[in-house]
């Protein structure tokens, strides 16, 4: 509850800071300080200090899992702001508003991570989506950004319509919006419930870009300003995933035989389409968009397995994926050329940046000693233990191997190709140190994943 209220307040503060303050550095510092405060109050809440208790009639419930997840999200956003907030200035004039929208999105994530009622799920998803439409189109003079925004908006609100229909049908079947009430089995299962569950599943699948509903992702991620793509592809995606797993864990656990196979098929399709299409991309930005689809496939394994193991896995995966992708995007934003050729000879010009980028890419590919490996390991382990379908974890393993090929293309370009143009990259020392710290964290999590997971229990 602390973080939920503070993030909404911070959003308002950022809105007004744009009017009162003229200096962009001051606005940025307020945002970063606010982010730290958000992280702090959330960790305090994990230790039992709640500043303000609002009676939500049981519609919002902050448990350990939600709080830890929020902490990861806030920490990633903090890193994201320290690395990339400076680059938002280039997008447009409304600098403070972009930051305000980011805080509102965090408010939405805090809602969806702790919902106990479908009303809150809907509100949270919309609080996440509507600012994202704006951020996608924030580069007003760029036609690609405008188009991406319109496309995202039309498809996003369409999927919202589907979600609402699903919720309405479930309400018709069960007479309640509470997930605990929906999970209760009394008498025969109503067809309304099954139809509603499928609609909800599809609309959630759309929001996290799972395979048959992924078609908007590459276009929108490509068209949006790169700074905001970084935010959308990592923090927002992980945030909606927790809603996904919570919905199916608490709302539909008793219907498991009905949805398990569908989720398995969605997972398989996502893994296949995401990984194989990513191989053929020419632009690193677009490759990362497809890779985010592929990573969504891995995260979906946790929904499929649905066990304490898989929840641990999702926590670890969200942390590993967010940190690595934010790091890569932070470097990518600084580049002038987003194709693979743009990375040619990068290792000679910027040895340090090339080294940390390599660590992030290795983590995304799931090479041992990085956080990505541990995350993938937990996911596949959970899927192995809790399923009758052995082909799914095997497919995931094969696809993890395929993913190595496109991540290594970037490494190959950085280290084994010669650059034709001299580097124009300028980075501050602070940027360098943050990236190195991030890379160290990725390696640390890869060796001691329990550093993070222990928080779930103590």
């Amino acid at each position: 509850m602390n973080a939920l209220l503070l993030s909404a307040l911070m959003g308002v503060v950022m809105m007004f800071s744009g009017i009162v303050l003229k200096s962009k550095a001051a606005i940025r510092n307020i945002a970063i300080a606010g982010m730290l405060a958000l992280l702090l109050v959330n960790i305090l809440e994990m230790n039992g200090t709640v500043f303000l208790v609002i009676d939500s009639k049981g519609m919002i419930g902050f448990d350990r899992f939600a709080l830890l997840f929020n902490s990861i999200i806030f920490f990633s956003t903090f890193l994201y702001l320290t690395l990339s907030a400076r680059d938002m200035e280039k997008v447009g004039v409304n600098y403070a508003e972009y930051l305000a929208l980011i805080f509102f999105i965090l408010c939405g994530i805090a809602l969806v991570s702790s919902f106990r009622s479908l009303i809150i799920l809907f509100l949270g998803i919309e609080i996440i989506s509507i600012p994202l439409y704006i951020l996608t189109g924030s580069d007003k003079l760029n036609l690609k950004s405008n188009e991406a925004s319109l496309k995202y908006f039309l498809l996003g609100s369409f999927s919202t319509g589907l979600m609402l229909m699903g919720i309405a049908l479930i309400y018709g079947a069960k007479g309640t919006f509470y997930t605990s009430g929906i999970n209760m089995v009394n008498g025969a299962i109503s067809p309304l419930l099954i139809a509603g569950m499928l609609l909800l599943m599809f609309s959630m699948a759309f929001k996290v870009s799972v395979a048959p509903f992924h078609f908007w992702t590459p276009d929108v991620y490509d068209g949006a300003p790169t700074v905001f793509t970084s935010f959308m592809a990592t923090i927002v995606k992980a945030g909606v995933f927790i809603a996904f797993i919570r919905l199916f864990d608490e709302g539909f656990a008793s219907q498991q035989p009905k949805w398990k196979l569908i989720i398995a098929i969605l997972t398989a399709a996502t893994l296949l389409i995401g990984n194989i299409t990513a191989v053929f991309q020419q632009s690193v930005k677009r490759m990362l968009a497809y890779s985010s689809i592929a990573q969504a496939g891995f995260m979906l394994l946790s929904v499929y397995a649905m066990s304490p193991d898989s929840k641990e896995g999702l926590i670890l995966y969200a942390a590993a994926y967010c940190m690595a992708t934010i790091g890569i995007f932070a470097v990518l934003i600084k580049m002038s050329d987003y194709t693979f050729d743009g990375f040619n000879g990068f290792a000679k010009q910027q040895p340090l940046l090339a080294a940390v980028t390599t660590i992030f890419l290795l983590s995304l590919a799931g090479i041992p000693l990085t956080a990505g490996f541990m995350a993938k390991f937990y996911m596949i382990k959970a899927a192995m233990y809790n399923s009758g379908l052995l082909w799914l974890p095997i497919l995931a393993l094969v696809m993890a191997a395929v993913s190595v090929s496109y991540y290594f293309r970037v490494i190959q370009a950085m280290y084994f190709r010669e650059s034709s143009t001299p580097s124009t990259l300028t980075v501050t020392p602070a940027f360098r140190y943050t990236l190195v710290a991030l890379a160290a964290l990725v390696v640390l999590l890869g060796i001691f994943p329990n550093l993070l997971l222990a928080w779930l229990y103590f």
Partner: protein, 102 residues
Amino acid sequence: MPIVYYLYLSLALFCIGIVGVLTRRNAIIIFMCIEIMLNAVNLLLVAFSKMHPPKAGIDGQLFVFFIMVVAAAEVSVGLAIIVMMYRRIHSVDVNFLNRLKH
């Protein structure tokens, strides 16, 4: 009147909305179709809330309020995006949205 009539009516409206979204090419009309979908849901929720016992029924009507407000927020953002698009290319035809394909 049995509840199924309300169900049929709102599903019919919902399907009209879906078909409209999938077949029309004008962004504004697509958007109107999405609004039809949302209103079909509102109708269904109100009908269900009368069907369920009084205490549970309140929730459904409450949800309708939330949907209306969120829809208004979506309208304001959506129309702003469409206007922004129109000022750039003087058209709201979604067939023009093909620059991102390559």
